[in-house]
Amino acid sequence: MTARVGVVTFPGSLDDGDAARAVRIAGAEPVRLWHGDPQLHGVDAVVLPGGFSYGDYLRCGAIARFAPVMETIVDAAAGGLPVLGICNGFQILCEAHLLPGALTRNQHLHFRNRDQLLRIESTTTAWTNAFQPGQKVLIPVKNGEGCYVADTATLDELEAEGRVVARYVGGNPNGSQRDIAAITNPAGNVVGIMPHPEHAVEALTGPSLDGLGFFTSVLKHLVGAPA
C-alpha cells in the first residue's frame, strides 16, 4: 500500500507544490489538503509547507494556527500522526504549541536565501530516521523570520532530550539560538525545520538530493509504525 502524505495549502502558501512533488519523488502519494477543510482524508502523515500563510499578518503562523485543518492536525499529532512543518510550517507548529519556542525576525534583519549546510543531530524522529547521526546535508534556506528563540530552560530541555534535530553549520543564517535549524516534540512525530528539504530532491532544481531523506524517513517510519 502506498503511503498517503497530506500537504496543506493555506492562503499564502508557496511551497505546497514542491512539497507534494517531494512526497511523490520519495515514493508516496501526495494528498492536497485545504486550510478550510477540517478533514484529513485518511492521510498517514502531514506536511505544513513554507510560504506566508494569511500574509504573515500579526505574526508568522499566528492566524494559520486557527485554520479548521489545524485543529484536526493538533489532535491527530497528539495521537502520533507524523507532522513536518517547513519554514512557515515550523512557525505554525510553534504558534500551535505543538513545538516549544518561537521564530523571530532574522537578527540581521535581512532575508536570507542560500544553500545551507546542516548537521543532523537526531535520527530517531519520524522525519529523520533515514539519516546517519551527525550527517551533513545541504538544503536551501530562505527566510526572513527564522531566528529560533526559547528560554534557557526550554533550550536545555531540548538538548538534554535529544530534541534538537538539525543545526546550522558553516554559518548561522538568522541568529537562531544554539544554531538550531530543526526541533521535534517529545514523541518525535512532530518536526519543525526552517530550511527547505523539499527544494533539494532532484538534481535539476536543487543543490543536492539531501532533502529527500526527510520524506523517505516518514515512509520508513510508517512501515515500522504499529497500525
Binding site: A62, P100, T104, H108, V149
Partner: protein, 87 residues
Amino acid sequence: MPRVVVDVMLKPEILDPQGQAVANALPRLGVNDVASVRIGRRIEIDFTGEPDLDRAREIADKLLANPVIEDFTVHLVETDEPADARS
C-alpha cells in the same frame, strides 16, 4: 463608548532587531542621547456592546500576543466617536 487598547511588546530578554535598527539610525538625525529603542504593536478593539476587558485579555493571550516572546497590557481609552460610526 470606551475602546480597548492592547499593547504588545517583545519581552525584555528578546532581541528586537527592528528597534536596534531604528536606534542606530537616530544619530543620522542628529539624535545622540537615545540609549535604546524597542518596537511593539498597539491594537485597538471596539466591542459591539460594553467593552469586555476579560474577553480582550483572552484575545490578546490566544492570538494578539505570543506569550513565548511577548508581553501584553490591556486598558480602556475614551473615544469621542461612537464605535458604530467606524464601519
